[in-house]
Point group: D4
């Protein structure tokens, strides 16, 4: 229910066409459709700037497939499912000819309608090869939402000249997503080289005292460079949402 709905309702009350008791009931009604076991947040795109996305992790294959199937059949929106195992893709790939699976990033995507063209592009920078799955999740998300993506890979801080060689490309982006595991130092160095917002994504890449990405996470939160926002460990999806919201400005 948006503002024009509200105006219409109140005018109906004034005109005696709608009982006040009934109006009270409707005013409790906010913009979503209740589908029983799921509340489909159909207005999220209007409200938040991007459609609801299916996080497959923690769901059974059948559950994930059912939700994806519902969105394909019952809506016309673009679709993104993240953390999708090959089994989930197998279960749904017959539902639409243009469904695409990114095995590295573990995403299922379907682009059915055009998205508003963005003003610039997002640059995704990764410290090492093992950070690529997270980077791919971010890239798939950003592109589905409408932001073009460029990539610079394997430029960890232990060979800082590799990064410095890309200074011009770093500066050409409107927003940067920097993905790193282990000590998570890359966002600090990148943020010191550009005057654009940097989204830092810690990854669980590492072992021992990386404690599943905690070391990288703490490193990024303590960045001595300003202008760095951090998302959850391995959360390429969230980084891309934030980067796209920025890129839309």
């Amino acid at each position: 229910m948006n503002e024009s709905d509200l105006k219409r309702l109140l005018h109906a009350v004034r005109a005696g066409e709608l009982d006040p008791e009934e109006a009270i009931a409707r005013l409790r009604d906010l913009p979503y459709r209740d589908l029983g076991h799921t509340k489909l947040d159909t207005h999220r795109e209007l409200r938040q700037g991007y459609p609801e996305v299916v996080l497959c992790e923690g769901k059974q294959v059948a559950q994930a497939a059912e939700i994806i199937g519902f969105q394909i059949r019952e809506t016309a929106a673009n679709l993104l499912a993240t953390r999708a195992s090959p089994a989930v893709f197998e279960a749904v790939q017959g539902l639409h000819p243009e469904l695409r699976y990114n095995a590295l990033g573990r995403t299922i995507a379907l682009r059915r309608r055009p998205v508003e063209p963005a003003k610039g592009h997002i640059l995704i920078v990764t410290a090492g090869t093992s950070d690529l799955p997270v980077a791919e999740e971010a890239a798939e998300t950003a592109e589905l939402l409408g932001s073009p993506v460029e990539r610079i890979v394997d430029v960890g801080v232990a060979g800082v000249h590799r990064l410095l060689a890309h200074r011009a490309r770093l500066r050409s982006a409107r927003v940067l997503i920097v993905v790193a595991g282990m000590e998570g130092a890359l966002p600090s160095v990148v943020a010191g080289l550009v005057d654009k917002p940097v989204i830092a994504v810690p990854t669980s890449v590492g072992y021992g005292a990386s404690f599943g990405g905690l070391a990288a996470l703490l490193g990024m939160l303590n960045s001595c460079a300003g202008g760095v926002g951090v998302v959850n460990i391995d959360n390429g999806y969230g980084a891309a949402c934030l980067a796209h919201l920025i890129n839309r400005l």
Copy 2:
């Protein structure tokens, strides 16, 4: 040394006006001035979009005052010092008539030259009264950098109608900074109501199992809403840097 400097140098070498050996030495020379105990990063404003800021925490009063004094006397830049105790302000307040101290936010600011006008404003939302010091640090920082600031205070999630009453104002901002301690749930709720980037700042407000802000930090990192970037606990300054970089786009 910027690109035009580099061109000039290489043309000088070509013209035989500059010895290659000398050019090698100069090429090692990057844009900062070494002042002995401190490296003044004079080009940070060009490179990163905001000037160097003095973090007083962890420095002795005399050290902090010396660095602030140097910046007042030797540069024409605007000045910001954060985590400044009253003692630091006392030590420097005679140095310039327009120095201003924000006792709640513990910042010292001096605006001497105009900043590029920003396109919109930043909205700072706080969960409780105890979060105000962090919010003020953010507000002072953002305004010095050139972003106007609006505030909504005391709208924690335990009385969510207080927040919902401000929906229009929430949607009018270009970027939002959401400051919350305890369970740190406010950014998730706010991010679900707007289609703009949200910078979440956990605070150390709380006790017991808040573990100095850890609970709020983890809550924000695990936000079920996309589009949320998190900064360090109590880091109002960093949130404002990031918000301003976004607002400049």
Copy 3:
């Protein structure tokens, strides 16, 4: 041994029918039966208001099946087994025709005798689809103990209007169980909308910095809303016990 047993015993001593030495021995005897490898706490129902429940996690299939079998054969009580894998159910399902397995909640239940009718109902609210297994464990437990259950699912705080649409139902319950993973913010919002006790159940749903449910747990413990009691991560069973004890009042 209850108070009337004690009176009888002491009167027997007075009457000279019972030797004091023998009485000493009996007075050591408290209300349980020792079955060798297990102490069957036969009076727990009288003492605590609900019968002993079999936690299958951490037990071998054979051990769990043996304990369940014993309770079916040797007692007339209702039965609940939690964290029961399909293998455990397979091992016991032939023992009684009315044994029921909830595959999502991983519970085995057998209702053989009526329970005291409760005064109102318990409302179980979940933040997301992945929290359903924990919610089901709670629902099965509450219903076996005698409290009717209603459910509101998938109303996480990132789309708070979905929750607000259910305000009337929220207020109709006598006790609420709120189940959430990730940042665990839902109980705070719910507790701000009702004047009834809220039992918060953090779940291990999430990844990265959720640290197996720690983020949700800390969030709930730091709730800025009063009136929230927290149980262990994924402990749907414990939440239902507490909710039922309240609902019996």
Copy 4:
């Protein structure tokens, strides 16, 4: 704004006495009053069953005194301030003759109007003498809300007979609050002896590996007894809110 206000407003619209545009504005107005730096949640008592309470911790003495003073002067409600240092009490004690300070529990209370009589009493049980401040915060809160309180003190599990001697009193309460530091084992033992809800409050009493109450908190969350709800470390206030909501049923 409660339901009768809403009815009145809508009838006014129907009667043409109120312009729909104006009604829209008012409908945004939910039940609180905005006092500038604070949102006074005047309807919390109706909505949640207990009035807003002033948490003084983390606020400056002047801030706390101002909020307390406002509530004394501008409302007729009962007042409770928690974590109040003697300095806060000194700053406000002249404002009302019946203000009462509990030095052990660090609470300031003012009872000005009668509260709904509760059905039973709350029993507060403490493990040791050092847990008394938290117990007193709980007792003051419960009594102000309208629940009579009884106390059993110093019955830690290392001398379990001391507790068992009080079995009858334990069973006479409608709700129990159990306060314990160190290993936090007392709630498990108590919950095994009664058939009423138990609210467990871990305290920061202890040293070394108690890690500021973490040991007690984890102990209580892992209680092998069902029917135990846990609140934050040292959170006597929250325990009492929950206990009173239960006791009101």
Copy 5:
């Protein structure tokens, strides 16, 4: 109430000298005296082998002094108070001429009646000078309970020959208490040299990644030598209780 009391009571019932109702009341009465704010566990010495000890930490000076005063005046037992600040000693030192304060170990002791002579002695070994306060707390406790104490100090593992020079003394003790901070490695080395039980006491001596004694605690718990029991960080008192119980065997 011990077994002979119980016999007497039951014979009185049999003889008709005691009413069964009255006997029920007395049977609830287990061996302690309720002094209002404190339960004096007068039979602990019989039950556990050592008297109740006053832990002053976490108590106000007045509270601690009151409890100590009560024990001096109302009982004839030996007295030990641990973690006693000089202020506590000042408050009580006039109460008995033989009260003794150990400033390093922060204990107040009063020996008024002889204790059962122990079979051997306890050897307390410390890694460094900074561990001495904890060692002294242990020594005072052990001696008051009746175990003679010997000491070897400053034999940390970084100069292992210093320890090895004392091999004979190490082997002469019946029980050993090994006190160490930092990496807490000394108990492993000592336990490898003797065939007697070793009680390991981690101390909070250290800085940085010692995390208040956590490093030493974990080191001792992971000791590769068998036969090591660990107590809480800085818990010299608990180590001595355990050592004395062993030494009494």
Copy 6:
């Protein structure tokens, strides 16, 4: 090399039968035999009171089998291997007819020579059925070392009367090993009932906020009862070593 060996050596030097240079070399030789990849600590039994035990965890099946085989063939000592998977037992069971495998406790034992009879027995008390594997590891170890073992199982603190019924048996032991997971409260209660040393073994039984046994470990370390020594999580072996060393006194 023991003291008599040393005397013999020095007399040989005095008699001119041994060259001083040779004596220097021998004096470096302490009591173990170097077998290449393993140092067999042949004198551990003399030095520490119990033979070296094979911890199979973290070793490959082949490695474990080789070490066990060596001890069977090359020594006459009794043998104990802990954390032995069925695969390890399968690999060695043909080596000696009296090898015995305890499937629950995962131990392999071989008793070939008599051990010194102990003065009393060790009582192993467990909180729940799931703690039995750790209890069995302890029991096998204690018995191989020479201490008879009794058991009380399933007496967790949520039904404290089950424990109290065993007071006499608790008091009959010379040493007690108390095994508990979850909140780990049982050792505190037991230690309050006996005047003998209590060895507490936290187990990893539990889920969620038990964090792999951390909750039980912290609970035991913070025990409000004196006289409790704690070993590593699930370390039944270490508890038995310590208990036996005490029982030998």
Copy 7:
């Protein structure tokens, strides 16, 4: 690009053979070759003293094999791959006849050209048999880099005489790598016996409160012996790099 390349370039500019614009482009070009998905840091050996090494952990078998294959075919350098599963070795072993797999240390090595002879040797000391895989990773790395390696195994601190017997060998090394899990005490003892740098490697060997090597790591960081540098848990590779850099001096 090294200094002589730079001279040549600048002379070419001076001679007019190279356009300044072209020179700018080349100056951005630092010493590495971009191979698309990987930046081959060809000059690392010159810059850091050892070649780039392939960490296979966290990479798919195919990815790891591709990188190894590239280095074998396209460079003449020596090769080292760490954390290589048997599957990785299987995938590459046909590529070169001299590839060698160390199954215990999980390394793949290829020595194709001589390395600069080192001045002394590195001694690797391990506490237990289970630490051998980490020690082997260190040994393979050190030898490929050019440092000869000696080993002392199974000399944990619970039998310190085993270590002391090797005092002469300990002192003969130029650098020592000490590998230990559990309490991680060995480096402290070793560092107290030698006047050479000690590199401490905590391992994840242990269980329960070893928390995946955290206990050993903290123990080593808190070593009471000076001269100890610590690397990540299980990081035999990093220890060897550091040891070799020292040994080259």
Copy 8:
């Protein structure tokens, strides 16, 4: 007792000048002097390459002063005391005219005899001004031990060009000590630029999620650059010991 002492002793036994029993006693005597409350490790300099140093932290002023006084009066060695408050210096400064206090590094030093000249110098690099106290502790230690020190300060990774400008100086050192708080990323970048050993010192500089230096510590342990050894948080002393041992090679 060194090897020549041992030879003399054994020859004395052979010559009949020394009784074997007496020799046994002396052989127990290893190289230290027992001064009652302290074991003076007089041979540490010979054994480990640097003299014993007085850590004042955790000691009372009087204790620290006594130990320092003893070393000044009774030995001729150079002296270093770390973590010395001004009060400690005040207490000892009259004892020797050449005692020197470094207020920033909190060290007291006395150089009385020459030290062996080192081969090169140690370079200490710091990320920020607040890291200087730790750097000074390291510098004082290294110089007293005999290693000349150079410094590069304030070259944190957020302005990486400041560091790169010093490449030549970085490469001129034999060993580097890199001191950094916050995210602790500087050692990784430095180690990528040099072929010398890098000792990384995390500092407690930072706030919030730096958790007292934990973030920096984890960052350094997870460094993606090989050749980095880490010491405890704020442990400038330990870093210098290690660096000097390396520099002596």
